[in-house]
């Protein structure tokens, strides 16, 4: 059987005209000589590179990939809005593209008239629209407002109406670009039901989305685009899993890059002057005075201390910090529950006898989740000389998914800072469970009596 969509080795190159960034003028083109020369692209940007796939009839095909990976360009090429630079695309049957909902609605005229105009734009005849009119209005949940001018609609109403018209075109092939976020839960369900109905009637759907759940649950096949190239294709579960791992890796890289930039910037800051030291020391002692259970927290009330940065005299210097996961490799992305070690390499210029090492853990909102130091845990400092390593081990990182930041410090028992690293280190916790809050206690559900469940994480 002929596939519904057949994409063969498609490339799309966008051109950038160097000279005509903002001031596209005929005059300058004429003055500078050849108009033709100016129209020649000086720089090109490949949005798609040799992408091939085919979608059988009745198949729902999901396209995933990061922002800028070429998903929308691919959809536009399939829809025929832009032409691929190379390659061939064949679509069998009528297409309806849910790319921009309500494109072509005229704000001044009523919803009723706009349904007709939009329908005709999408290739329906007047009669066909008339036959489906009630169904469209019902689907969009717009019965009361259908005769009001479209400019008075809320953006949700606008999108719903656009969606309703586009989906009632009754296409053989439906192209969907991330448009399921157009309504409340109920409307989203209605859209999904409509898609399921499409599938039952052996029509094909090409779905571009960031919602991996949707791809896993809904698609028969998935296609992963990365920088315009195919990076994975086939079983949705497998493709999505590979994609998720790749996203984590690149998050890891981004965090590492941002962190090293932050550390480098703060390292170049000179050691604190005496008056600042006193200031800092005062801050510390006042923090200590508030209560020992809160040794390094400062709260957002103190603007100076809540900003990230590094200060101290560097008599003891923290020269390197790494966070390692269960595999023993330094990283920035961990799974909830992982065993994690924070490793500090430190160096003392001369022998020092009064020292404390501390650690503070904050969530993205700046809330202190935990703070402790060697003094609070009653380690009596004897001496430190030369290079040394301090390791803080967390057996189970029982945190919910999110981004967290670390304070690390070496200071005197009275708070006098040797080297204070404020919020310089970031790591991310991933979790398969979408629970909420900050802390996930190690827990179990158990049920007794007439309760039945299936599944569970």
């Amino acid at each position: 059987m002929k596939p519904a969509i057949d994409v063969v080795n498609v490339s799309k190159v966008y051109r950038r005209y160097a000279r005509r960034k903002q001031f596209a003028t005929l005059k300058s083109a004429l003055l500078d000589g050849s108009l033709i020369g100016d129209l020649k692209p000086e720089e090109t940007f490949p949005a798609l590179r040799g992408v091939s796939f085919s979608v059988p009839k009745g198949c729902t095909y999901g396209v995933i990939g990061r922002n800028g990976s070429g998903k929308s360009t691919l959809l536009k090429c399939v829809a025929g809005i832009t032409r691929p630079t190379e390659g061939r695309i064949h679509v069998d049957g009528r297409i309806s593209a849910l790319i921009e909902l309500g494109a072509g609605f005229h704000p001044e005229i009523s919803g009723r008239e706009n349904i007709f105009i939009n329908g005709i734009m999408l290739g329906l005849t007047k009669k066909e629209i008339l036959r489906r009119f009630d169904e469209i209005v019902e689907f969009a949940e717009m019965r009361d407002f259908i005769d009001a001018p479209v400019k008075t609609y809320s953006s949700g109403m606008y999108m719903r109406l656009g969606f309703a018209v586009a989906i009632h075109v009754d296409p053989e092939v439906l192209l969907v670009d991330e448009v399921l976020a157009v309504g409340d839960q109920g409307f989203t369900h209605k859209c999904l039901d409509k898609f399921s109905e499409f599938r039952r009637r052996n029509k094909s759907i090409l779905l571009v989305t960031h919602s991996l759940d949707l791809v896993e649950k809904f698609c028969d096949e998935a296609h992963w685009l990365d920088h315009g190239k195919t990076k994975g294709e086939g079983d949705p579960k497998r493709v999505v899993a590979a994609y998720v791992i790749d996203v984590e890796d690149s998050e890891e890289n981004d965090l590492a890059k941002a962190e090293s930039a932050r550390v480098a910037a703060s390292a170049s800051a000179p050691a604190t002057t005496t008056s600042e030291q006193e200031q800092v020391a005062r801050n510390f002692s006042s923090a200590e005075a508030e209560g020992p259970e809160n040794p390094v927290d400062d709260g957002p009330k103190d603007g100076f201390k809540s900003a990230e940065g590094r200060w101290g005299t560097r008599e003891i210097e923290i020269t390197g910090v790494s966070i390692t996961g269960p595999d023993g490799e330094a990283g920035h992305v961990f799974q909830s529950g992982d065993a994690v070690q924070v490793r500090m390499e430190v160096k003392a210029g001369e022998t020092i006898t009064d020292f404390v090492f501390g650690l503070g853990l904050f969530n993205a909102d700046g809330v202190c989740i935990y703070g402790t130091n060697t003094n609070l845990e009653e380690f009596q400092p004897t001496e430190i000389t030369g290079e040394a390593v301090v390791t803080f081990t967390i057996d189970h990182l029982d945190l919910v998914e999110g981004t967290y930041r670390l304070d690390l410090a070496a200071h005197k028992a009275d708070g006098y800072p040797y080297d204070y690293h404020r919020l310089l280190y970031t790591f991310r916790v991933k979790s398969r469970v979408r629970d909420v809050g900050i802390y996930r206690p190690d827990h179990k559900w158990s049920f007794a009596g007439g309760i039945k469940f299936q599944g569970g994480a």
Binding site: L39, A97, I99, E100, G104, I109, M121, L122
Partner: protein, 264 residues
């Protein structure tokens, strides 16, 4: 190109709907609505009548009375022409959403602009007719048969230019402003507020080069001057030229078509 041109007929329903939408939307929300289409040209005619009978009675030969009516014969179709071109130069950019996000035949947009302005032109005609009757101008019914022919020639010419301009403006945005000035010049280079006979005879050769001259003279012959139409040959030549301009305009449009979705 010819294949695309042939598919234009498939868009009849679309074009028709969009023209109606344009006309509806234009006056939506205004109290007088469609009456503005009658009211605007009527007011214009009153002003010209006042100026040329009371303020500047000596501006024209005595055999050109009522001079306001003479001018009106040219100004109505000129307004169709000039506003079509001005609006169509912006129409692809204004309709960017359609071109970028929907599979939409772009040539429909300039064509709709020209047609919507043609409807406005038609709505001005009853005012013209009323004045022709009021002044009891002799109108030859046989000569009136030429009127649709002139309109058709103007339609083809205007559409060709509109296609050309709309496509080029996507790449050269300042064409729009250039065009506004050019049209003002063009207006005065066309015998609309003066007759061909009033122009110095050494200018005739130049005026004849202007395609709008022949359209305007044809309108004036049919609606204002007595006697049979004396301009058929020029009109026929212009008709041929209009078809050529239309084809050229469509050719340029078709060549640039693929760039619209990216450049708009």
């Amino acid at each position: 190109m010819f294949q695309n041109l042939a598919s234009l007929t498939r868009y009849r329903a679309l074009i028709q709907t969009l023209v109606v939408r344009d006309l509806k939307a234009r006056y939506r929300g205004s109290v007088l609505g469609f009456f503005w289409s009658f009211f605007n040209p009527a007011l214009l005619l009153f002003i010209y009548t006042f100026v040329f009978t009371k303020v500047l009675p000596a501006s024209h030969p005595k055999d050109m009375e009522p001079f306001a009516l003479f001018m009106f014969c040219g100004i109505l179709p000129w307004t169709w022409f000039s506003s079509s071109l001005l609006e169509s130069s912006n129409t692809l950019i204004a309709g960017g959403n359609l071109i970028k996000k929907v599979l939409f035949p772009a040539e429909v947009l300039p064509i709709v602009t020209v047609l919507a302005n043609m409807v406005h032109f038609f709505l001005g005609l009853p005012i013209l007719a009323a004045f022709v009757l009021y002044y009891q101008r002799p109108v030859d019914p046989l000569e009136l048969l030429w009127f649709p022919v002139i309109v058709l020639v103007q339609l083809v010419l205007t559409t060709g230019l509109a296609l050309f301009l709309s496509a080029l403006t996507v790449h050269f945005r300042d064409l729009k402003d250039l065009l506004g000035n050019l049209l003002t010049l063009w207006f005065f280079a066309t015998p609309i507020i003066y007759s061909m006979e009033m122009a110095p005879s050494n200018m005739h050769w130049w005026l004849n080069l202007n395609p709008m001259t022949h359209l305007m003279r044809s309108y004036q012959e049919v609606l204002f001057f007595e006697g049979p139409l004396g301009h058929q040959r020029w009109l026929a030549a212009l008709g041929v030229m209009s078809v050529v301009i239309f084809m050229a305009g469509y050719f340029v449009f078709d060549r640039l078509r693929d760039s619209f979705a990216e450049e708009v």
